[in-house]
């Protein structure tokens, strides 16, 4: 396992400054979007990243791709720390790191044809020209299940699912080893969601690509992920093997999340009483002290408001950031 680590995120932090002032802008506060996140992803592995909206899932993905420059922390990929590289040094590595977006209406240039969209990474990196370029574009269309005659069409002529296939084909063009899937199915109809999920699974088996699968849909994450990380207010609460996490969630937040998932059996569902959280998610500008979850936690006890729980192993690679599972606290 240790040898096969593809990407390693250590203590990743991203604060967005809030400025004020008309001419002389002062920084008045920070949005702590991501606050000390550590995890790793193995080759060909899928890590599901779940959490409520605004908890920093997408920011983590964008930081890995260096679309946001992290405030601190490191991201190791192919023995290089991406955070320290300049844009020119990053360019060759970007071929290996790709992204699929949530909204397929937003993520494709409306003035490009399908072939232009899929071939753009090849043109930018000069990977293929002439006949090889056209063949590669045709091959990519085929891989994602689109017909050759669709190559000359524009995004607005495709359905949502087809557009998402174009986005996937574009991400595959340079044979990446890692793809950030930022809620790739949330904007699609349920019937199309299954198609896209299956396509992503097939591609992973075929090309050995690792995914960071960002989603708020717990059942989808359960289906596609090898391991799952749960985020809350910019911090990782729990990371574990998929089956382990869904079978015996340790963190109270994870337990609440899982109890909110409907059970597809009406009789069981009728018996099931979901745990309902009090209050709203606090603002990431001024997160709670100690454990960020303590004001809403049903199991909070006296050290929680003061002690920041570290993410630690609770056995068998099941990591949890909760004082309930730490034997001592200062």
């Amino acid at each position: 396992m240790e040898k096969n680590i593809l990407i390693e995120v250590k203590d990743l932090t991203k604060y967005f400054p809030i400025t004020s002032g008309l001419i002389f802008q002062r920084i008045v506060a920070h949005v702590k979007a991501v606050d000390g996140v550590t995890f790793s992803i193995g080759k060909g592995e899928t890590l599901g990243l779940v959490g409520e909206s605004g908890c920093g899932k997408t920011t983590v993905g964008k930081c890995i791709l260096q679309l946001y420059r992290p405030t601190s922390g490191s991201i190791l990929f192919e023995d290089k720390d991406l955070c320290t590289l300049s844009e020119n040094e990053l360019r060759p590595l970007r071929q290996k790191l790709q992204v699929i977006f949530q909204d397929p209406y937003e993520s494709l240039n409306p003035r490009f044809t399908a072939a232009d969209i899929i071939g753009e990474p090849l043109r930018i990196h000069g990977t293929a020209t002439g006949k090889a370029y056209r063949e590669r574009v045709a091959e990519l269309l085929d891989i994602v299940g689109l017909a050759p005659y669709m190559a000359e069409r524009y995004p607005h002529e495709f359905s949502g699912g087809q557009r998402q296939r174009l986005g996937i084909a574009r991400a595959l063009a340079l044979q990446p080893s890692f793809i950030v899937c930022d809620e790739p199915i949330s904007a699609l109809d349920v019937s199309i969601q299954a198609q896209i999920i299956n396509l992503l699974g097939t591609l992973q088996d075929k090309f050995g690509i690792a995914y960071l699968f960002i989603s708020h849909d717990l059942s989808v994450v359960r289906h596609i992920s090898d391991r799952v990380a749960v985020m809350y207010l910019g911090k990782i609460m729990e990371i574990s093997d998929r089956t382990e996490l869904y079978k015996s969630p340790l963190h109270p937040y994870t337990q609440v999340l899982l109890s909110a998932v409907p059970i597809p059996d009406p009789e069981v569902e009728a018996q099931h009483v979901p745990i309902v959280l009090k209050g709203e998610v606090p603002t990431p500008i001024n997160p709670p002290s100690g454990c960020v979850f303590h004001p809403r936690c049903p199991k909070a006890f006296e050290p929680c408001p003061t002690v920041i729980p570290a993410l630690r192993d609770a056995g068998g690679g099941h990591q949890v950031a909760c004082l309930l599972y730490s034997t001592s606290w200062p």
Partner: protein
């Protein structure tokens, strides 16, 4: 892998789509028709009209419309319709050439401001604000006084006050497009800044720019007519000059004012209708 079974909409390019919508807009079609007919007339008038635009004939001054002179004659016995069509050349040239200057100045400045961002953006846009706040006519008169009376200098003078709204528009378009995911996707691919600006940002802001340019044309036409009316406009036949000349004899021969004034009005209206039609046709919200 099996081809996904989903149906496709009929195949049209983006411009083809816009053209279809434009053709459904009756007023826009009327506008385009008038503009094209006027342009055709302006091009063909030397070959069709029996009268040169400057031929004076003191035997037939201030005549009312007749078969020989459909729009009558002026106080020097010149044929009004011939002069009107020559004047259309000036008006259309002003409309088009000023917008070329607007494109050449406004688009790069707006794009540079948006791309640079920060302090550079602030400085450029404050300069644009100053230009915007300055009275147009005053500035044109000033530029006219400095650059001299040539018609090309007139294009330049009008163009130099008209670029500001295009610069603002392009900057705003680019700033909002920059937030879209396909720009993020291009950055994630490793595309350079200039590449993204030229291949993604500018082509996607071109629709609204075309609309604003179309609305700019009648303003330029009006500016030229106004300048000619006060005597610092074109030294070629111009509708503004004709209105001024006719104004002196307005009670003896009202048609001398009426025809060029109508021509200015209808041409401006035609471009406005066309602009309206283009705005609807190119509206990205109607796509998808």
């Amino acid at each position: 892998m099996a081809v996904a079974v989903e149906t496709l909409r009929p195949h049209h390019t983006i411009w083809g789509d816009a053209l279809i919508r434009l053709r459904r807009n009756r007023l826009a079609v009327v506008g385009v028709t008038f503009i094209l007919l006027l342009a055709l007339g302006a091009m063909l008038v030397p070959y069709v009209s029996p009268y040169p635009w400057d031929r004076q004939n003191y035997n037939i001054i201030l005549q009312n419309p007749s078969w020989a002179h459909p729009f009558g004659t002026d106080n020097l016995g010149r044929d009004v319709i011939t002069r009107l069509l020559y004047g259309a050349r000036t008006s259309l040239q002003v409309g088009i050439f000023t917008q070329i200057i607007v494109v050449l100045v406004g688009i790069p400045i707006g794009a540079i401001a948006a791309a640079a961002g920060g302090r550079m953006d602030n400085i450029i846009m404050r300069f644009v604000d100053v230009m915007y706040a300055f009275p147009d006519l005053l500035l044109i008169i000033l530029v006219r006084a400095i650059l001299g009376p040539s018609i090309y200098m007139l294009f330049l003078a009008i163009g130099l006050v008209a670029w500001v709204n295009v610069a603002r528009l392009v900057r705003g378009q680019i700033l909002s497009l920059k937030q879209r995911d396909f720009i993020t996707a291009a950055r994630a691919m490793g595309a350079s800044g200039p590449y993204i600006t030229l291949r993604h940002l500018l082509p996607n802001s071109i629709g609204p720019v075309i609309v604003v340019l179309t609305f700019n044309v009648p303003r330029a036409i009006f500016a030229e007519a106004a300048l000619s009316y006060i005597g610092i406009g074109a030294n070629t036949p111009s509708w503004g000059t004709m209105i001024r000349d006719g104004y002196e004899v307005i009670f003896a021969a009202p048609h001398l004012v009426a025809f060029p004034a109508l021509a200015v009005g209808i041409l401006m209206l035609s471009f406005t209708f066309l602009g309206d039609g283009l705005r609807d046709a190119l509206d990205p919200r109607l796509r998808r």
